[in-house]
């Protein structure tokens, strides 16, 4: 007589294990967010969001996070504007034009390796490259130092280009995946109508993949917003904008771009006990804003992906 096996124990262990893991992850996530809000809530005020940081030992005079916020936005825009056209073109090439062979596997492993390089290494590399005199137009020429003709190598433009390099493999991969999800039937249908390959890509494939592409861009933005090492090394350790003042005048725009500044991440480093400020509350206040930006970007990505699904319904 065969005895029926009971699955009660192993299935309840499985249940408990996966539920506990989930619970722990949710708790850690909530704990981080709640701690941040708890410590930083006092700092958040309109004044905090709308004034520039000031080097002062007095809390009242130390100002807010206006320029770090602007810096984060500026850097994200520069990085995305440089990275996305390259990434999209590369993804299109990989998906539609490349032939299987050594070259393709070389490109693919290059993309994979690039995505694994720590951002601080990318930053170090950028620093070596962009301090070369020929790249002085991106930052500034060092003057008044005997025997040096190097470029300064730190500016919004340099950091933006570096950010673009950092997110490139990530965005390429996500766009390649998106292009793969465009149904073959669309492509065949278009070609059967006598369309050229490029017409098919530009008029059929890309519009169908629009929401996926937007999601990829937003996730790439998230990586730029959260990065610290590249900002620290290639944007510099100054809290304020160091171009011609006031930095927000359109006439000083270029000067702002080729000079240094800060982002929320470096501001947090500065004001944390590890940096120079040692004002925990202010650091957590900036962290709240940073987390809010990242959550908003993720919501936007989910929302845009949702629009795409509705349309395909």
């Amino acid at each position: 007589m065969l005895k029926r096996k009971s699955h009660k124990i192993d299935s309840s262990i499985g249940n408990a294990y996966s539920f506990l893991s989930l619970a722990i992850i949710v708790c850690v996530c909530l704990f981080i967010i709640l701690t941040t809000i708890y410590f930083g809530r006092q700092a958040i005020s309109l004044h905090f969001l709308s004034t520039e940081p000031n080097p002062s030992a007095l809390d009242a005079a130390s100002g807010g996070i206006l320029t770090p916020m602007i810096g984060t936005i500026l850097l994200t825009l520069i990085g995305i504007m440089i990275a996305v056209p390259f990434a999209l073109a590369t993804a299109i090439y990989l998906r539609f034009y490349s032939k299987k062979g050594i070259f393709l596997s070389l490109v693919k492993s290059a993309v994979n390796i690039l995505s694994g390089i720590p951002t601080v290494v990318v930053a170090l590399f950028a620093l070596v490259i962009f301090t070369q005199p020929m790249f002085a137009f991106l930052s500034a020429k060092i003057e008044g130092v005997e025997g040096s003709n190097m470029a300064y190598g730190k500016s919004f433009l340099v950091a933006g280009v570096t950010m673009a390099i950092m997110i490139l493999p990530f965005v390429i991969k996500s766009m390649e995946e998106v292009l793969k999800t465009v149904p073959e039937s669309y492509i065949h249908g278009s070609l059967a109508l006598g369309a050229t390959k490029w017409q098919t890509i530009s008029k059929v494939v890309l519009p169908s993949a629009r929401s996926g592409i937007a999601t990829g861009i937003i996730l790439g933005m998230g990586r730029i917003v959260g990065d610290t090492a590249i900002v620290w090394l290639t944007l510099g350790g100054t809290l304020r904008m160091t171009g011609n003042q006031p930095w927000y005048l359109p006439g000083n725009f270029w000067s702002t771009l080729v000079n240094t500044g800060s982002t929320l991440t470096t501001y947090i480093y500065y004001t944390s006990p590890a940096g120079e400020g040692n004002s925990l509350e202010v650091a957590f206040g900036a962290a709240i804003v940073l987390i809010a930006i990242i959550i908003l970007l993720n919501l936007a990505a989910t929302f845009i992906a949702g629009i795409g699904e509705l349309k395909h319904e």
Binding site: L191, A192, L193, G194, A195, T196, K197, E313
Partner: protein, 253 residues
């Protein structure tokens, strides 16, 4: 006797090492419906997709022999632009309706906008004319701005036919156009095909014996890459010469 529109001459096809078609010869007359029947994997879709060179997309695809359309051997065409121009004269409708995820009107204008210029009214009239030809205009006339994917499967398929008609092709290729549709939509498409053959030459791949019998003028029976029998549909179904076809049409496969 009508003029010959498509001549298939000694066509052999390989996918890599595997041969899919063996020495096929076929002559397809103008303004008729030619049905390809046979069990799955017998090569009928392969031959259909060779007629507009859509198989060129498959890297391992190799063909010998030629297919001659209106006197032009299409596998002699070398330039990409010539192949694309050739495809514009051959509409293709697929098994799964494939309207793009945009509005009905944009779907219709897609092939036109790329190749021609015209003013808005002219284009809109053309769209309406083709939608009427595809017997779908009445159902959707109120909402040409609606998403094409919100239509039913049968409507989507007729929209795809209308879209193919926009370039006024002389040949229409149908790859099992009704296999994803319900009987009523199937009936509508069959009626439409009978209508369309007045102006177009139609080749249809079908799994449905009854469909082939109902609508086609000629039929070719494929088995393992070879055309076993071909002729007028009436003749084929009334007096099958080979035992294989006899079994197939009586459902013993």
């Amino acid at each position: 006797m009508n003029k010959s529109m498509i001549e298939i001459q000694d066509v052999n096809v390989w996918y890599g090492e595997k041969q899919a078609l063996y020495n096929n010869n076929l002559s397809i007359q103008e303004n008729s419906i030619y049905a390809f029947i046979g069990p799955s994997g017998c090569g009928k879709t392969t031959l259909l997709r060779s007629i507009n060179r859509l198989n060129d997309l498959i890297k391992s695809f190799r063909i010998t022999g030629n297919i001659i359309i209106k006197g032009q051997p299409i596998y002699d065409l070398q330039k990409k632009a010539d192949i694309e121009e050739m495809r514009r004269h051959i509409g293709m409708i697929f098994q799964q309706p494939n309207p793009l995820p945009t509005s009905i009107i944009k779907n219709m204008l897609l092939p036109i906008n790329e190749h021609f210029q015209g003013d808005k009214v002219e284009l809109e009239n053309l769209v309406i004319e083709k939608l009427q030809q595809a017997a779908i205009y009445q159902e959707i006339s109120s909402s040409l701005q609606k998403a094409a994917l919100s239509l039913s499967g049968g409507q989507q398929q007729r929209l795809c036919i209308a879209r193919a008609l926009m370039l006024e092709p002389s040949i229409l290729l149908f790859d099992e156009p009704c296999s994803a549709l319900d009987p009523i939509s199937t009936y509508k498409i069959e009626e439409l095909l009978m209508e369309l053959k007045q102006k177009h030459t139609i080749v249809i791949v079908t799994h449905n014996m009854e469909q082939a019998r109902r609508i086609s003028d000629y039929t070719a029976f494929f088995y393992e890459g070879k055309i076993i029998e071909q002729g007028t549909t009436l003749d084929m179904f009334m007096n099958p010469k080979s035992e294989m076809l006899e079994h197939y049409i009586s459902g013993k496969f």
